[in-house]
Amino acid sequence: MLKKDQIKVGDTYSEKIVEDLKRTQIVQYAGTSGDYNPLHSDEKFTKEIAGYPGVFAHGMLSMGMTGKMLTNFVGDGTLKKYGVRFTNQVWPGDSLESTATIIGIKEEDGESFAEISIETKNQDDVTVITGSAIALLG
């Protein structure tokens, strides 16, 4: 658990959350999440029916990978809120880096919470996720 005296507003924490995303990892995520939308594993359907250049990752895979950066930063079971917007698609071969920034520290009912903004970018510096989170501090 992140301690209140370990952080201050403006602090950042970054992690490379995936390097050269493999199609197989997207299939793994389909299998565990239960989201078998062919857009994520079926190249023929995705090109010929949906009109995309190829399969792409579930938004929730990007949010899940961004979430591991977050729990590595704030600790397990301390999140109170976590929300994202999916601003661009993530493709096989992408490498993503995710950054959390402390934008506030608040006190409520005798407990302390970190207010965090989140951004995940790909190798071309394109933002694929923006978001925010609130975590309980020790």
Binding site: V18, T32, Y36, F45, M60, G67, Y82, V84, F86
Partner: protein, 158 residues
Amino acid sequence: MSKIKMPIEKSHIMMFARSIGDSNPKYYKEDGNDVVAPPTFIQASAQFDPDYFLRPKIGGENWFGSGKESSGMKSSGGGGGGAAMGLHAEQHYEYHQPLKVGDVITAEVKVGNSWEKESKRAGKLKFSESVTEYRNQNGDLIITATSVGVVTEKPVEN
């Protein structure tokens, strides 16, 4: 919406952690059940929705993904992909209590707002929101999830 009843199981959490590339040893240890699920794990409740539309059904209607042909179903038009033209725009979770191994979760979905917007990259966008309350076996609220889906007029330009 079908009735979802999701048992939170250690092996499912382990496989989910693998799929998001999360090497936190808590998700892989053999003993103890004190693990808190990853923050997006509740999304896997789709596995426990008997009617979930993004899973091929055994002996059921045709699956819209490819087999011999590029789609097992005729396109419903409007962007060419029918149901698959829906994309995920936003996802928000509020955590009321930690989600733990041994919990049995039920879900109640409420339809939220819907709105439209024009976009340069994908034509007319139709957004719709749903709010899902996940409760444990004691009726305690564990997670509130708000999901925003978008149906695009045409594939998103990249």
